[in-house]
């Protein structure tokens, strides 16, 4: 069992209602912050030593507030924060062995790059010779040697980002906090920095806690991800587990595209549970997939897992088969995206690699009847309290109108 770098125990933050709320409200993602709301709702979380951990969620989900509480910029309303076993809940930011890379970099504009990076070392009265050695090393690590004498106003956004990283890492913190550090960069640079960040993290071996709303970014870099919504995390796990076995409708929708179909349980044998879709089709799901999920369930399957066949085609043994009709096809080069309407009106997205079918004549076109098939193991099951019912109501309303 790995050592725990950061442990959050029942961590809670409520904005508004207290005197400090107004001053810090602007940092909260939610525009209604000053009306007072529960930004972080009793979170229990262990982040392991040396891990690249991401807090992923839409704006207003409490991820930034959680990070700011770990950094010491926000006082929790309730709960506890432990850093390597030590309770730091009420320590000021400057007494915590944690450093932060801020969203807007927050480089000191009046200091040179060298002095920016040296800032933390100077506070700890490190000797000049050591400062020079470590700052130089660090600027090499982030591939910015020779920039020492420049001011932050004289470097680009991507470079400022690296300086911010160097300035935090040079202090060898127990944990590095990153608050959407790539948000201000353009797409190409962002992709490059994602790989770079992961490389640096592996090189220095420091625990990273990374806040982002970009699911692809989180999946690219993270060892584990907590998907947050409404002040708590809905699911915590490896990127693969989150993608292949999302637990809730929210997680399924936030990470990638997913097709969710309402289904009712219809008995089970020793390996498979049987479900019946609303159009009456029977679908099999491995019992292992269901785990402890309870309540109203919905079946999910990712668009790239589905294969399209003709009615007469044989599907591999044991595969689920559902009939539908193509309503839309868009050719994307590497793949083709189809929207298939099932008999009960539900629409399913399918991605098909343009391998066996590639030319226009070979591709499916709209109006054709098809059979969707996928392996039972590719199913996932989400808890769907209210979600599907609401979606259903919307659909019916839309049909009436």
């Amino acid at each position: 069992m790995a050592d725990v770098a950061v442990r959050l125990v029942q961590l809670t933050k409520r904005f508004g209602g207290d005197t400090t709320g107004r001053r810090v409200a602007k940092y909260v993602d939610d525009a209604n912050a000053d009306q007072g709301f529960l930004a972080v709702d009793h979170i229990d979380l262990d982040v392991n030593e040396g891990e690249f951990f991401s807090l992923l969620g839409p704006s207003g989900c409490g991820k930034t507030t959680t990070l700011r509480m770990i950094g010491g910029f926000e006082q929790p309303t309730d709960g506890r924060i432990e850093l390597q076993g030590e309770d730091v809940t009420y320590l000021p930011a400057y007494k915590r062995n944690v450093n932060t890379v801020f969203q807007n970099y927050a480089l000191f504009p009046h200091l040179t790059i060298y002095e920016n990076v040296a800032f933390g070392l100077r506070r700890r009265k490190v000797s000049d010779a050591d400062v020079k050695k470590r700052v130089t090393e660090m600027l090499e690590l982030v591939e910015l040697p020779g920039y020492e004498a420049r001011k932050p106003g004289q470097i680009s956004g991507g470079q400022a980002q690296r300086v911010a990283l160097a300035r935090a890492l040079v202090n060898k913190p127990a944990v590095l906090l990153l608050d959407e550090p790539l948000g201000a960069l353009d797409l190409k640079l962002r992709k490059q920095m994602q790989i770079e960040l992961k490389r640096i993290q592996q090189e220095v071996g420091i625990t990273f806690i990374y806040v982002t709303h970009d699911q692809e970014e989180a999946m690219t870099m993270s060892d584990r991800i907590a998907v947050m919504n409404h002040g708590h995390y809905e699911q915590l796990g490896d990127p693969e587990v989150l993608y292949e076995r999302p637990r809730t409708r929210f997680v399924a929708g936030f990470l990638g595209v997913s097709n969710l179909l309402p289904a009712s349980a219809d008995g089970r044998d020793d390996r498979y549970a049987n479900f019946r879709l609303s159009d009456g089709t029977a679908v099999r799901v491995p019992i292992a997939v269901i785990q402890d999920r309870a309540g109203t369930l919905a079946l999910g399957v990712r668009p790239e897992k589905i294969r399209l066949l003709e009615e007469k085609d044989e599907s591999p043994a044991g595969y689920n088969r559902v009939a539908g009709r193509i309503v839309h096809a868009s050719y994307l080069g590497v793949s083709t995206q189809y929207i298939v309407q099932l008999k009960d009106g539900h629409r399913v997205t399918v991605y098909e690699q343009n391998v066996t079918r590639a030319t226009k004549a070979e591709l499916w076109s709209s109006g054709e009847d098809v059979v969707l098939c996928w392996a039972p193991e590719h199913c996932f099951v989400v808890e769907d309290a209210g979600g599907m019912a609401a979606a259903e109501a919307d659909r019916e309303l839309a049909a009436v109108v």
Partner: protein
Amino acid sequence: MTAGATAQPAPGVATRPPSGLAHRIDRLLLPLYTLGVVSYLALPVLVMILFSFNDPTGRANLNFRHFSIDAWLDPFGRPGLEEAVFNSLWVAFGATVISTILGTLIALALVRYGFRGRGATNMLIFLPMSTPEVVLGASLLTMFVSTTNLPFIPQGVLFPLNIRTILIAHVMFCISYVVVTVKARLQNFPRHLEEAAMDLGANEWTTFWKVTFPLILPGVVAAALLAFSLSIDDYVITSLTSGQTDTFPIYIYGASLRGIPVQVNVIGTIIFASAVLLVVISTLWQRRQSFRDFSSTRQVE
């Protein structure tokens, strides 16, 4: 408009080159206007400088007779003038230092913290700027000469009227201008820089001196210059709170009743030159700072 039609000049844009005369007038208009404004502003100062080299007959320095540098060689050659000038400098320095420190702290409090009475303080700070000076002076005079024992104020500080009461009065009205100037600088101060400093191990004190203060320094310097110039030329409030003490403006007023000596022009010229020098230095200094607008992400490529 049909596609492919040649672009028509927009209405109002001249299609022909301007005719000779109209063009020349056009080009001369702005320089002439500028010259007019600059002369309007500079003429009184130039007259003052010119007359500092005069050698007048009698007391009045009204007609230019001879070029002379006598007054420049003996700038304090009138009884009471030296004392008045040094009183003015003393008050101006004192008022600048005290009001800059207090004003900066007040501005920090007003911008940073929400506290009971913040709105009232904001209004109170604005009051000396919007109240006529003569009213302020009269109020101060009333307070200073009132024989009522005031709480917390030691005997002899407010009475008799002397250089101390001038200083108190000047600090009072300078604070307003300092607060307003520093507040403007603080308003768009990026708070995350202070968080970054704390994150890197700086406590509140170090954060203030290493990050906050260097960044608001241009605002503080501007406020101090403003306070100094407001204090050194104040007449109305000073005349009501000075008692028997003369400052430079009061000396000039007194002298003007009999005829202003050349030395006043000399000292006026020196003050003017120092002010210009200070403004030039502070402008150059501010231009040198690459952090005038706080943006650290600005790209220079």
